[in-house]
């Protein structure tokens, strides 16, 4: 008896193409941003944070803040930052043409001046945050920030993350691939970061 099977076959849904895909793409973007924040909160390997040290006395600021630094990267160089600082972290150097887009207690975002996205959207930015200590990501290489052990890794999306122990937490700095910051420049950027008492770890 194939009666029911025949009737089921006639239920085959129509498959006309969909023209408007923007809503689904927008939901995907939002979910991706939420996931990145969550990973930062959970100490996941997807986020990169930068560390400075001020909560109880570890000073991570480098001693050569005064002089502008020019690196050998193709399209970007680090310059002294002399603009207004944001709560949570102070910054000594930024990629040329970049500004502090904003911060809350958990994230500092460094972006291009015309970037109007949320600071929770990490695309095309450098973001700095604190998180709980976690194991180094697979493939991470060792480096130092102000003489302290650090790890640096580039993930499958092309973003590079620098992690650095700060007291009982970890400073994470994530750089989007489109900024073309070298690992050495990322370390130099990190050495110009100072964590202030306003900063809180992402896990709350």
């Amino acid at each position: 008896m194939n009666d029911v099977i025949d009737r089921l076959a006639r239920l085959t849904p129509a498959a006309s193409p969909t023209d408007d895909t923007t809503a689904d793409l927008r939901r995907g973007h939002r979910a991706l941003s939420r996931r990145r924040i969550k990973r930062a909160a959970l100490g996941g390997a997807a986020l990169t944070l930068a560390v400075g040290g001020a909560f109880g006395g570890i000073a991570l600021t480098s001693g050569n803040e005064g002089a502008p630094t020019v690196q050998a990267a193709d399209n970007v160089r680090l310059v002294d930052y002399d603009g207004a600082q944001m709560p949570g972290y102070t910054v000594a150097k930024v990629p040329e043409g970049f500004v502090l887009q904003g911060s809350d207690q958990y994230v500092l975002a460094v972006a291009r001046p015309d970037d109007t996205s949320s600071i929770s959207d990490f695309q095309d930015k450098i973001v700095v945050t604190l998180e709980s200590p976690s194991s180094p990501a697979e493939g991470a290489t060792d480096t130092t920030v102000n003489g302290q052990p650090a790890t640096i890794v580039t993930n499958s999306e092309g973003t590079t993350t620098l992690k650095y122990a700060y007291r009982d937490l970890t400073v994470v700095i994530q750089v989007w691939e489109s900024i073309h910051l070298t690992d050495e420049q990322l370390v130099e950027f990190a050495e110009g970061i100072e964590v202030t008492a306003d900063a809180k770890p992402s896990h709350g």
């Binding site: 008896m1 009666d3 029911v4 099977i5 025949d6 009737r7 089921l8 076959a9 006639r10 239920l11 085959t12 849904p13 129509a14 498959a15 006309s16 193409p17 969909t18 023209d19 895909t21 689904d24 793409l25 939901r27 995907g28 979910a31 991706l32 996931r35 695309q123 499958s156 999306e157 092309g158 691939e177």
Partner: protein, 166 residues
């Protein structure tokens, strides 16, 4: 890299979204609003996993859709609301549904049994593909579809089973 993923994802959505909604409507026994919610959730998950999903996005989306439905059924509010004891007279308003009686009968099947029947006999997927979508063995697919078909035959009246009366 992300823009490339975005373009691929958009092309996938453009090509498969309508069919996913249709499948979701069958899996939800004609609940168009729930079907749309499930498809939206499914597409978000597909987007987040595009690195893996892009190899076989349609199959990945089907599997995700079934999982989303299963998750939905497990929610307490759903269990409180689920109390149907008989076939509704007009369960489906969607004009795309050509057989409201059959859709109503599908609603009486357990979710995964219904999914097995829909994927196997509506979408004409192979037993292996259905097993992949449901994350179960082929033996389970065969037994679930057999039981599902038996129950459908029981639920539908003999006059309905004789087919088109026109």
């Amino acid at each position: 890299m992300r823009r490339s993923h975005d373009a691929e994802f958009e092309a996938f959505v453009r090509r498969h979204r309508a069919q996913l909604v249709g499948t979701a409507r069958l899996l939800t026994a004609g609940d168009a609003h729930l079907a749309e919610d499930l498809v939206q959730t499914t597409l978000v998950k597909v987007y987040l996993a595009w690195g893996r999903a892009s190899q076989q996005p349609a199959a990945y989306a089907r599997r995700t859709l079934v999982n989303c439905l299963t998750d939905h059924r497990r929610r307490p509010f759903f269990r409180r609301e689920h109390g149907a004891v008989s076939l509704p007279e007009a369960p489906v308003e969607d004009p795309a549904m050509v057989d409201p009686e059959l859709v109503a009968a599908l609603a009486e099947l357990p979710p995964r049994q219904r999914a097995a029947v829909v994927l196997r006999h509506v979408h004409d997927l192979s037993v292996d593909d259905v097993a992949d979508a449901l994350s179960c063995s082929t033996g389970t697919v065969k037994s679930q579809t057999a039981r599902g078909l038996d129950k459908l035959r029981t639920l539908l009246t003999p006059t309905q089973l004789t087919g088109d009366s026109r």
